[in-house]
């Protein structure tokens, strides 16, 4: 079985989730069954995963797995469905808090019932009180309508023991919050009662997760082929997956620069997320990077003996590759777009400056920014963009459009795409841009933009943080219609690198490597018998 390992599948996905979902769909499309493995507890995990196109049959959440809740038919619980064990209670709605207060006939508080007001007042959690007005427990409901997590409170109103139940109410996982020798409260242990009634004790969630991986490896064991674990977030198993009881094919997937300063890949301090895995590189069966450039940089710095694979995390669908091409003359002249969160690492104020310089020569230029503004440091990134607009008097030239789902339509009518990030892991947006024939301009930034954009083929790669060079490149295209059409055509054609067939072929190489190594791994097992016909 092929496992995609992640923490959860939130509604607002980062690039990692998008990359994982594309891989999941690619495998499904080629008839290769796989499972999305989500480690973290999340009451909405099924709802969100289903929404992202993952059916319950292909989803395994660790908590669900032990809670025997991988397949539960959803039932929407309302306050009236709850049984507090007290007769003649009264429910009073507190609008400001999105909750009901449940009281006895004499007015004593029995529970607070928190609901999702946007979802038909579905019960989300209950805060339960005893007959002496103590909050003794908070029950967290799975979105499918059962108590999933109970948090038992201490007399000083803190969470003590936490317990996870099956939908029928049997406790299977417990975790504890206790003081250590110097009085600091920490998660101090996990206890698991499995389906066979065996009781396990773990010091940390990492050890519980390792046990979970071992269970998966057993459940899906086959002498014919290895289980393939693709680890999309290092902290979930960069150590654990190296300590499986029985062999598997373990893949470390890089989704970002392995170097803390992506522009100094040889010498900078390692990206903390990958520090462990980079130091344990040869213990993985394979390491995947999304770009050749990153693969080369990993080789240059670490000289690994393990297999390195370059597999793009983006796939341009065949429908887009075969779609009618829009000639430059039919596009809005001078329209630059960018699809990115307005955030510090995206450095979009530089893009505004470049457009500002262009505007002095070509007044028809305009820039539309699509994406949420990051709220960090009181919207510092957006304030920087606004300051740049003011500096160059671009109030009528630059628009912040917010988030859109109509990307294709926007890109089919714009002319150019700009990227001025400080660092990248791949950048799906600029891949999508070239597939729509947008002429792309980017800083020479690791990793992704400086590979997706091929200088002189589908746009230009200019020196990192050189605003003037970026403006010059844009000006050159705006002043030369033939060059513009040549780059646009080059963009459409360069998108072929990310075709379904090409990305699938790259994964097939990895799967073939796993298959190739399997007999050796099996042979290394003590007392392993070759299966005879």
């Amino acid at each position: 079985m092929f496992f995609h390992v992640n923490a959860t599948m939130p509604r607002q996905k980062s690039g990692i989730e998008h990359a994982e979902l594309k891989r999941f769909k690619l495998l499904n499309g080629h008839g290769v069954d796989s499972r999305v493995i989500l480690r973290d507890w999340d009451p909405n995990v099924h709802y969100n995963a289903n929404d992202a196109g993952i059916s319950d049959d292909q989803l395994i959440n660790m908590f669900d797995y032990f809670q025997e809740a991988t397949h539960v038919s959803a039932k929407k619980l309302h306050v009236g469905d709850l049984d507090f064990g007290v007769l003649h209670t009264k429910n009073e709605w507190e609008a400001g808090h999105n909750r009901y207060l449940v009281t006895t006939r004499s007015g004593q508080l029995v529970a607070r019932v928190n609901v999702d007001a946007t979802d038909d007042q579905r019960v989300v959690s209950t805060e339960l009180f005893d007959g002496f007005n103590n909050l003794y427990r908070v029950d967290q409901y799975d979105r499918r309508g059962f108590v999933s997590l109970s948090q038992w409170y201490t007399p000083d109103n803190k969470i003590g023991t936490e317990t996870w139940q099956t939908p029928s109410g049997r406790t299977v996982i417990e975790s504890f919050n206790r003081a250590n020798a110097v009085g600091e409260t920490n998660k101090s242990g996990w206890r698991l009662t499995d389906k066979q009634g065996k009781v396990w004790q773990f010091d940390s969630i990492e050890l519980l997760t390792l046990h979970f991986f071992d269970c998966l490896n057993d459940d899906f064991w086959s002498d014919d082929e290895p289980n393939i674990f693709v680890l999309d977030r290092g902290h979930l198993g960069d150590w654990g997956l190296l300590h499986l009881k029985r062999p598997a094919y373990v893949v470390m997937h890089l989704h970002n620069s392995h170097a803390g300063d992506a522009q100094d890949p040889m010498h900078s301090v390692l990206n903390n997320h990958y520090e462990f895995s980079m130091n344990a590189l040869d213990e993985y069966d394979a390491v995947v990077s999304a770009t050749h450039k990153q693969t080369q940089d990993v080789i240059a710095r670490f000289h690994p003996k393990t297999e390195l694979f370059t597999i793009p995390v983006g796939v341009v669908p065949n429908s887009q590759l075969q779609a009618p091409r829009v000639p430059v003359k039919d596009r809005t002249f001078g329209k630059v777009v960018a699809f990115a969160r307005i955030a510090w690492e995206k450095h979009l104020d530089d893009l505004v400056r470049a457009v500002g310089i262009v505007h002095q020569t070509v007044p028809e230029v305009s820039l539309d920014l699509y994406g949420y503004a990051d709220s960090s440091d009181n919207y510092k990134a957006r304030r920087a963009v606004e300051a740049a607009i003011k500096d160059y008097h671009l109030e009528d030239v630059v628009s912040m459009k917010g988030y859109t789902t109509d990307v294709g339509k926007v890109e089919d009518s714009a002319m150019m795409y700009g990227l001025t990030s400080r660092m990248e892991g791949f950048n799906l947006a600029i891949m999508e841009a070239i597939s729509h024939g947008l002429i792309s301009f980017t800083y020479d930034v690791n990793y992704g933009p400086n590979e997706i954009v091929e200088d002189g083929v589908n746009g230009n790669v200019v020196p990192y943080e050189n605003v003037q060079a970026l403006a010059d490149a844009m000006l050159k295209v705006l002043q030369d219609p033939d060059l513009a059409q040549r780059y646009s055509t080059g963009a459409y054609e360069s998108a072929e690198r990310y075709s379904d067939a090409n990305v699938w072929a790259a994964w097939q190489r990895l799967i073939a490597d796993a298959q190739h190594k399997w007999p050796t791994k099996l042979a290394a097992l003590p007392n392993h018998q070759e299966v005879q016909d």
């Binding site: 049984d83 507090f84 064990g85 007290v86 005893d130 007959g131 002496f132 103590n134 003794y136 427990r137 038992w152 409170y153 201490t154 007399p155 803190k158 003590g160 023991t161 317990t163 029928s168 109410g169 049997r170 406790t171 417990e174 504890f176 919050n177 206790r178 003081a179 250590n180 020798a181 409260t185 101090s188 242990g189 206890r191 009662t193 066979q196 009634g197 065996k198 009781v199 396990w200 004790q201 010091d203 940390s204």
Partner: protein, 504 residues
């Protein structure tokens, strides 16, 4: 069905439990179904009930009922055969017979305490976190199953106890939180009982619910409340009307003031505040009945036997005379109202005339301090060499003690009924006691099967004891008389008395 309601059956029981157990056995033997009903959660109930001669069909415990465990028979569960321990990952290290440690890679992760008085059976398992705190305790029933799970507050005090059914589902949650800054059990929550949850603030509220649930199916039942602490609960029972209370003890603080003296607090509900909720009360003696009737004329008071001597004992006749002719036996709880000090003082005089006399106390002390005080007193009186304080025993072990004794000494300040006196009689042991209300006056016929001595006179007590110890012929006569008295407490007689009691 007859339900005799109590708190518990203990490892060390008082006369109340013994009386109740004897009655339960008698009724069932005579074909009148009876159950000894208990409230408390007790993992050792099955063992302790057997010690009182009761099997599982004769005992009904509230928690057992909700756990669906009333018919579960004992299957020994050795800790080393415990399926829940993954032995391909963990080691069990047993350095002593009382507990074993479960280790993972040399680190202790749990401790398995051996079930008391067994070899290697599971008693309870405490799991540890990485800081060494106990996080979960799993409690095993004597019958060999996991009965409950405890979680703890950060300071190590019990946080919640989950009572489990056979499937491992929680049927009752007992939550412990603060009330006025003091940790206590604050909630009993019955889960998914007949499809609903029920929350109770006290264990007695749950017990009332349980009694009504049980009795609803059998509204013609007779209920006897044997424990004063539960009278108010039985009073609240609505499912049956034939509710009685058995008064095992003297109801007044000062036995010399039966009409005006202060009532023991525990007797107020059944005699005064909740009296109308009972069909009546049973007492062991006509004298106590008369005293209560005179004081509470509206009450129905009926005399009914507080003990029974089982037929096999009577069939054996008077045992051969004791080899230890000068051995005095004192049986009962070592507590101030039983005044073991009086026995020591009288005995100090006895040994002046009977130098080889010995005194044996049999019973559990109310506290270790109290036992120490008694031992110090024995020391002070210079009788330590002649006195033993021995553990509480029942059944055959106790029978052996009676067979060894020349005389039974009873020093209580007041008794509803002296059960040990009748028990002694059945082994041909005469009794010497103070002449106090109520039972002893009726049981002991002065000069025939023993002596009644003016209350508080240790010198006369000593004289009477000496007389029995030193006059062999007289003692033989008394032995027969004692046994004859015991015969009036035979099964058929007692059951007939109960039938008459119900008829009244």
């Amino acid at each position: 069905m007859n339900y005799f309601v109590s708190e518990n059956i203990f490892a060390f029981n008082s006369g109340t439990e013994h009386s109740q157990a004897k009655r339960t056995r008698l009724f069932n033997k005579m074909g009148a179904n009876a159950k000894y009903v208990t409230r408390d959660y007790n993992r050792f109930l099955a063992r302790d009930a057997v010690a009182l001669g009761l099997d599982h069909t004769q005992v009904l415990n509230m928690y057992d009922f909700f756990q669906g465990r009333t018919d579960t028979v004992r299957v020994e569960q050795p800790l080393r055969l415990l399926k829940q321990i993954p032995l391909d990952q963990y080691h069990i290290v047993s350095d002593n017979p009382n507990y074993s440690v479960i280790q993972h890679a040399g680190v202790p992760i749990a401790r398995v305490n051996v079930m008391p008085a067994t070899v290697g059976l599971v008693g309870d398992i405490s799991y540890y976190d990485r800081f060494g705190n106990t996080t979960v305790r799993e409690n095993w029933d004597w019958r060999g199953f996991k009965s409950s799970i405890d979680y703890f507050h950060p300071d190590g005090q019990l946080g919640v106890r989950k009572i489990l059914n056979a499937a491992g589902d929680t049927v009752i949650e007992i939550t412990h939180m603060n009330v006025d800054g003091k940790l206590q059990a604050t909630m009993w929550k019955l889960l998914n009982y007949k499809g609903h949850n029920f929350r109770f603030n006290t264990e007695d509220q749950l017990f009332l619910f349980f009694l009504n649930e049980q009795l609803m199916t059998d509204p013609e039942s007779l209920v006897i409340s044997d424990r004063r602490s539960l009278d108010y609960v039985v009073a609240d029972v609505t499912a049956v009307h034939n509710k009685w209370a058995y008064l095992h003890d003297i109801h007044i603080v000062d036995e010399k003031e039966p009409l005006k003296g202060r009532l023991f607090e525990a007797y107020v509900p059944v005699l005064e505040s909740r009296a109308k909720d009972f069909a009546g009360v049973f007492v062991a003696t006509e004298a106590q009945k008369q005293d209560i009737k005179r004081r509470f004329p509206k009450l129905t008071v009926v005399v009914a036997p507080d003990t029974v001597v089982e037929q096999p004992r009577l069939d054996e006749g008077v045992p051969a005379a004791s080899s230890e002719a000068h051995h005095i036996l004192w049986v009962g709880r070592l507590s101030p109202e039983r005044r073991p000090e009086e026995a020591l003082k009288a005995f100090a005089t006895v040994i002046k005339n009977v130098p080889d006399a010995t005194l044996e106390f049999r019973g559990y002390p109310v506290s270790a301090t109290y036992l120490t005080e008694l031992k110090q007193l024995a020391d002070k009186l210079g009788v330590t060499e002649h006195v033993t304080f021995d553990e509480y025993v029942t059944g055959d072990a106790l029978a052996k003690r009676y067979k060894n004794a020349a005389v039974l000494l009873q020093t209580a300040s007041g008794e509803g009924f002296g059960m040990t006196v009748t028990e002694g009689f059945s082994y041909g042991v005469p009794a010497v006691a103070y002449d106090v209300r109520y039972g002893l006056k009726e049981q002991i016929r002065d000069g025939e099967n023993g002596f009644l001595v003016h209350d508080g006179s240790t010198s006369i007590l000593a004289a009477r004891l000496t007389e029995i110890l030193t006059n062999d012929a007289f003692r033989q006569t008394m032995r027969q008389a004692a046994f004859d008295t015991a015969q009036t407490y035979g099964e058929a007689t007692v059951f007939k008395a109960w039938q008459q009691a119900f008829g009244s």
